[in-house]
């Protein structure tokens, strides 16, 4: 190591910064996202079609829950996305705080309404599943309550950013709120183990008595396909929102002025 290793290290860092400077520059990313969006949208459509076919036609009714088990193919991916999008939001917020990267700040802002919508979907479908299975639309137990708090965290993030006129300060305040709210994510995840709850435990990681996964492949395939479909959909609308955000934040630059010339 010694001297040679140090120089190689600096060379690698320089290459990384050159890479970031190019691809994470709002101007480059605006065009890059524009080229990517149609492909992601097409992939979303294919995956949704496949997932719906598997979930509504191929998957058999559950021996306990009957046909109502099909709600799972919407509810579980929506609940996963509600947490995944939050982690992307908080992660992007942290990167924005630490490295002062504009694109990361914009990513956090663009994530919020999408994450809120997935959280809303998880709550609504949970309610629609809870009524026939538990006999109630809602219960104040740990899983449901912590998921509701996640919804309010998204709304709080959006309200906070909307209330601060200065873009940089809005990004910082939002990122701090998002990072504090991260504590809610493990609470949601482990709530079904830590507290007595109506909510059933995770199906995917559960192992039954003979050591096989507790969920049958006929139910697992549509579940995973829908989860991937929702993830690609998230990427699609995130890029769409990011493009709008870039135009807004870069409104005083020459390239944006040229681009939107009336």
């Amino acid at each position: 190591m010694g001297h040679g290793g140090g120089i190689a290290h600096i060379a690698r860092l320089t290459a990384l910064f050159q890479f970031l400077h190019k691809y994470a520059s709002p101007r480059y990313f605006y065009g890059f996202a524009g080229r990517l969006i149609p492909w992601l949208a097409g992939l979303t459509a294919l995956l949704l079609g496949w997932g719906l076919y598997q979930g509504l036609f191929v998957a058999p009714p559950d021996y306990q829950q009957g046909e109502s088990v099909r709600i799972m193919f919407i509810h579980v991916p929506a609940a996963w996305m509600s947490m995944f999008v939050y982690m992307v939001l908080a992660g992007a917020g942290a990167v924005g705080l630490i490295w002062n990267l504009k694109l990361a700040e914009m990513t956090a802002t663009a994530c919020a309404p999408i994450g809120a919508s997935f959280t809303f979907l998880a709550l609504v479908t949970g309610s629609l599943w809870g009524k026939p299975m538990w006999g109630t639309w809602w219960a104040w137990d740990a899983r449901l309550t912590s998921e509701l708090i996640l919804f309010f965290l998204y709304l709080g993030f959006m309200a906070l950013q909307a209330a601060i006129d200065d873009t940089k300060r809005a990004a910082r305040a939002g990122a701090l709120l998002a990072l504090v709210g991260v504590v809610n994510i493990p609470i949601i995840h482990f709530s079904v183990q830590w507290w007595n709850t109506l909510h059933q435990p995770a199906s995917l990681s559960a192992i039954n008595k003979i050591g096989a996964p507790a969920i049958h492949p006929s139910l697992l395939v549509p579940l995973l396909v829908m989860a991937v479909a929702f993830t690609v959909f998230f990427a699609t609308v995130l890029l769409m929102r990011l493009r709008a955000e870039i135009l807004h934040r870069e409104r005083y630059t020459t390239w944006v002025t040229e681009l939107v010339k009336p």
Partner: protein, 57 residues
């Protein structure tokens, strides 16, 4: 399989189709609101170009 049986979902039709309808609404909302945001930003930018300031700032 006949269609009325399929729509009935073994008596859970309201809950199952309600969930899928909610999902469809959420997906459509995301696309419409992302497009709406882009349109409103572009409108602001054109005002900025014309009058030297954005309309609602």
């Amino acid at each position: 399989m006949n269609w009325s049986e399929f729509l009935a979902m073994g008596g859970y039709g309201l809950y199952v189709w309600g969930s899928y309808a909610a999902a469809a609404l959420v997906l459509v909302f995301n696309v419409v609101s992302a497009r709406g945001r882009e349109k409103s930003v572009r409108r602001q930018l054109q005002d900025l170009a014309r009058y030297g300031r954005a309309s609602d700032e």
